[in-house]
């Protein structure tokens, strides 16, 4: 297993997927999975199936909403889009992540 690929943390997925929806607009599950993989440049290994549980979690918190629609190839599929409260959450979660990341970076930086 290549060192660069790491398992996805649950919390990470919860931020990555709304972020994807924010930039791409409404997407179906497969689209979200592919897009997430591409955006992370395949550094995250994803069992695509696991995104559905994560999507449900977001739906229960009313960050995203789902509607049945038709894909570009004419298939019936469920499309997810960001709600207003979802948008607000992204801003807040991003800030959280950045703070954690900065702290971690500082912590892990080689001490002189």
């Amino acid at each position: 297993v290549p060192e660069s690929r790491s398992d996805v943390l649950q919390g990470t997925l919860d931020l990555m997927m709304p972020k994807t929806l924010e930039s791409m607009g409404p997407l179906h599950g497969y689209g979200i999975a592919r897009r997430t993989e591409q955006e992370s440049e395949n550094t995250v290994s994803l069992n695509q199936g696991t995104i559905y549980q994560a999507l449900l979690r977001l739906e229960q918190r009313a960050w995203v909403k789902a509607e049945w629609g038709t894909s570009e190839t004419g298939r019936r599929a469920k499309f997810y889009s960001l709600t207003r409260s979802g948008r607000k959450q992204i801003a807040q979660e991003t800030e959280n992540w950045e703070r954690v990341a900065t702290n971690m970076a500082r912590f892990l930086a080689p001490s002189n």
Binding site: H28, G29, Y30, G31, A33, R34, N47, Q48, G49, T50, Y52, Q53, L56, R57, E59, Q60, R61, A62, S71, T73, R75, R76, A77, K78
Partner: protein, 884 residues
């Protein structure tokens, strides 16, 4: 707040699971097909694309399962599944569920009834603001609860523990409203009564301490809400109206709040009058006689003062007062919770605790019963359960399934039991013993329902524990292979045997104790009464109520007697103040050489009747020695008394006492002129009581106040007719007070109600226990036998004699029956002793009776095992072996 949203969303899913499952399936299918399309667009073949898509997706089933867990409330769904499965299972065995539910209904119902009564009488606080810092101030131990009014005022002045102490007593007087007179029960209360309780009137005002300015200074009356509703049509204009209590005018000043029923637990007073006016109404010296202890005292604790500190404070005051006043010699005081709950000697409390114990034992027997049936069912289903375990169900899931079934059954039993308990309680709460307007707030409240639910679920868990434990220990391989749990049944002492033992023991205990108690009570009820009630009718009137002055009471009594004797068909007539089983009065007896009439010198208290000549002939009481009263026993001549044998024995140690003398209080000296047989005076079950009969014509010292007069007439006419005649003629002599007319045997019946009720309750519990025992024994025994059918079949096929098979089948059950019956007997004897102590009946440990009970229980067990055993040996071994 987002967790609420999540929870709501999860709950809402619960009802559209099927639709959502379909949606999920379609969504996942779409995902995979989209992936396949993309892979093919990149030039893969169909199978390659398919494999790649599935690989990238991960396990479809796992995804679906974790999605479902995230989506809904998994434990709820599982529980619902368990319940549905349990329902199906119970419907499959239509005999089991109703039997189990009925058994439990009996057990839980009995407990709900007993607990409701316990709750209503002992646990419910008084319906006043902050009932918790209200305590009763009473004498310690046998000193009695009641206090005198002068003592009360001293307590009130001297204590440092209470913000206020109130005093009240029950009065029973005639009340006249708008010219109609009827009997009523009320409270005479200290002026601060309502203020200490912290109540506000529903109408008008209450009386206060500031209204009291000495004797007869506050002629006011406050009505209870119910009385106002029923007798004054809830009219708001009644304030200022004058009503008459025993012909004394009192002004209505207010109405008490609706839910306030006084501070007694059994009597709901019709009204309250200031204690300063009670003497005027009742004629009794309540207000300043220190030795006359009639008042109940309740105190409101000061903030920060504990009940214990208050007790110490009151006890110190009692010691001071005992030195100060001769009447208070030996006075002790303590504080406790008001009502029967606080009184450790209260007979009602004891009886209730005894019944609680019995009811609990009945439930225990019912649970043991069901545990055995349930265990048997679980064992019969062992292959089903084993298969479930084998295909991956967790032991917990299977045990939970059994538990669900048990709790479902027990809740059913609880509901049915509570339903019947409510019906019974409805009847009980309307029960009145005679004229006494007792009220019980025993309708089940939320506390009772909580107890019912806890009992139901608790008993469900109790009787499901055993089968659940069996499942836990199931060896799956063995269970599937041999079609039944072999391990359990051949062990030396199986769990099943323990259950049978418990069952026999508990049921023997219940049957023994209830039989012995019922027997004791019947003996008590059959004891000779010392009177002959046949053809005797009583007419009682209160001359005080009628407003007849003391001086004229003797004249009125004579006119009543003459009028009654003149009624055609009356063969004999006499009067007394009270009659046995219809009112009671007593005096303290002192020996002849007493000079200090203080409690320490008292001999004992004796029931006292003030009778006319000829009373003993009408009452049918035998004169053992001496003479009856004669016309010469009149005021001015030496005062004389006739006493009963118990009196003679207790004061003089002999029954030859004619000519001996004793004293009642200072000026009252009595010479004994006759001795009559002992009798019962207020309760057919009472211990022998000393009694004095004095001549009504002579009175008791200065205390011949006008009071109750009971006319006793002997007649062969039907009771209705004589009652009519008595009413017509006597009402012309005394017009201002009502007569209560009834036959003497009715009066006795009425006084027997509590004892009869207790007897019936015990009898019913015993019967229930016996029924449980029989059904349980039959179930258990026949199950044990049927489990060994196959083994016995093999033995018979190998040539065993019938008698050998029989012996091996019956050996163990019989051993268990004997041990269980012995344990139960010993327990029963102990319980009987406890009950005798609690309900006070002569404890007769009757060895013959006990032997009979034990024998009957063993016979029942024997029959219960014998029948299936016979079936076992009469069956064709070849067929038996082939079938299994």
């Amino acid at each position: 707040m987002s967790w609420i949203r999540v929870l709501l969303s999860r709950c809402s899913v619960f009802f559209r699971r099927r639709q959502l499952d379909a949606d999920l399936d379609e969504e996942l299918r779409a995902h995979i097909e989209l992936a396949i399309e993309e892979h093919r667009a990149h030039g893969m073949t169909e199978p390659q694309a398919c494999t790649a898509a599935l690989r990238a997706f991960g396990g479809v089933t796992q995804v679906r399962e974790s999605y479902r867990v995230q989506r809904g409330l998994p434990w709820l769904e599982e529980t619902v599944r368990d319940i549905r499965f349990a329902f199906r299972k119970l419907l499959h065995s239509p005999g089991f569920a109703p039997t189990a539910i009925l058994t439990l209904a009996v057990g839980i119902g009995a407990n709900v009834v007993v607990f409701s009564v316990l709750n209503g009488i002992m646990l419910r606080p008084l319906n006043v603001p902050q009932p918790n810092n209200l305590v009763q101030i009473a004498g310690e131990g046998s000193r009695g609860d009641s206090q005198s009014y002068p003592d009360y005022r001293d307590y009130q002045d001297r204590n440092q523990s209470f913000t206020g102490i109130l005093a009240y007593k029950i009065i029973h007087v005639g009340i006249e409203i708008d010219k109609s007179v009827f009997q009523s029960w009320g409270n005479a209360a200290s002026g601060n009564y309502f203020d200490v309780l912290g109540l506000q009137p529903a109408l008008g005002r209450f009386f206060h301490a500031s209204d009291e300015h000495g004797l007869a200074s506050a002629p006011y009356i406050v009505l209870s809400y119910d009385f106002w509703q029923h007798h004054l049509a809830a009219s708001p204009h009644i304030l200022g109206k004058v009503v008459f209590l025993n012909q004394h005018p009192l002004t209505i000043i207010g109405v008490a709040p609706q839910n306030f029923h006084g501070t007694d637990y059994f009597l709901w007073p019709d009204y309250w009058i200031p204690a300063v006016n009670a003497q005027q109404v009742t004629g009794w010296d309540d207000f300043d006689w220190r030795g006359h202890r009639e008042f109940t005292l309740l105190g409101r604790l000061k903030p920060g003062i504990t009940q214990q500190q208050a007790s110490q404070n009151m006890d110190a005051i009692a010691r001071q007062m005992a030195k100060q006043y001769p009447d208070d010699q030996g006075l002790t005081l303590t504080t406790r919770k008001p009502g029967p709950a606080g009184n450790s000697d209260d007979p009602i409390k004891k009886a209730l605790l005894g019944m609680t114990l019995l009811a609990f034992l009945v439930l225990l027997a019912a649970c043991a019963n069901l545990a055995s049936i349930f265990a048997a069912r679980a064992a019969d289903r062992s292959s089903e359960l084993a298969i479930r375990l084998a295909i991956g169900s967790s032991r917990w899931a299977v045990a939970r399934q059994l538990l669900t079934e048990a709790i479902l059954v027990s809740l059913g039993g609880g509901i049915v039991g509570t339903f019947f308990a409510r019906l019974l309680l409805g009847v009980l709460s309307h029960w009145r013993s005679g004229d006494f307007p007792n009220q019980f707030l025993i309708a089940p409240d939320e506390r009772v329902y909580v107890v019912a639910i806890v009992l139901s679920i608790g008993s469900g868990i109790v009787f499901a524990l055993l089968p659940a434990w069996q499942v836990w220990n199931t060896d799956v391989v063995q269970a599937i292979k041999s079609n039944y749990v072999a391990a359990g049944s051949f062990r030396r002492f199986a769990m099943r045997d323990a259950l049978l033992l418990i069952q026999v023991a508990v049921c023997t205990l219940l049957v023994t104790s209830s039989l012995v108690t019922v027997r004791g009570m019947i003996q008590r009820l059959r004891a000779p009464l010392g009177i002959s009630t046949k053809g005797v009718t009583l007419a009682q009137v209160d001359l005080q109520m009628a407003g007849i002055p003391d001086a004229q009471s003797r004249l009125t009594q004579k006119r009543l007697l003459d009028t009654a004797a003149a009624i055609p068909g009356v063969t004999a007539a006499a009067t007394s103040d009270f009659a046995p089983f219809l009112g009671i009065w007593g005096w303290t007896v002192y020996s002849w050489d007493t000079t200090q009439f203080v409690p320490a010198n008292a001999a004992f208290g004796a029931i006292t009747y003030s009778v006319s000549r000829g009373y003993f002939q009408v009452a049918g009481t035998r004169l053992e020695s001496g003479r009856d009263f004669t016309p010469d026993d009149k005021p001015g001549s030496p005062t004389v008394a006739i006493v009963n044998e118990t009196f003679a024995r207790r004061l003089f140690g002999t029954t030859r006492v004619v000519g001996k003398r004793f004293k009642l209080f200072d000026p009252v000296r009595l010479e004994i002129i006759g001795v009559v047989e002992d009798g019962k005076y207020s309760d057919p079950g009472e211990d022998p009581q000393p009694a004095i009969f004095i001549a009504y014509a002579q009175g008791i010292g200065p205390y011949l106040v006008s009071g109750p007069v009971t006319v006793l007439v002997c007649s062969h006419l039907p009771p209705d007719q004589i009652a009519d005649a008595l009413h017509r003629s006597l009402s012309q002599v005394v017009t201002t007070a009502p007569f209560s007319i009834l036959t003497w045997s009715d009066a006795i019946d009425r006084s027997m109600v509590p004892a009869r009720t207790a007897t019936i309750v015990l009898g019913v519990m015993g019967l229930i226990a016996a029924m449980l025992a029989v059904t349980g024994l039959f179930g258990m025994a026949s199950y044990s036998v049927s489990k060994r059918m196959k083994e016995q079949g093999i033995r018979m096929a190998l040539g065993a004699q019938r008698i050998q098979v029989m012996r091996s089948t019956l050996n163990r059950p019989i051993l268990i029956l004997i041990i269980g019956a012995c344990v139960g007997l010993i327990g029963g004897l102990l319980a009987t002793r406890l009950l005798a102590h609690l309900i006070s009946f002569p404890s007769t440990s009757d060895p013959l009776l006990l032997a009979c009970v034990a024998l009957v229980m063993m016979m029942l067990g024997l029959i219960a095992t014998w029948i299936p055993a016979r079936r076992a040996i009469s069956i064709d071994p070849a067929r038996l072996l082939r079938e299994s």
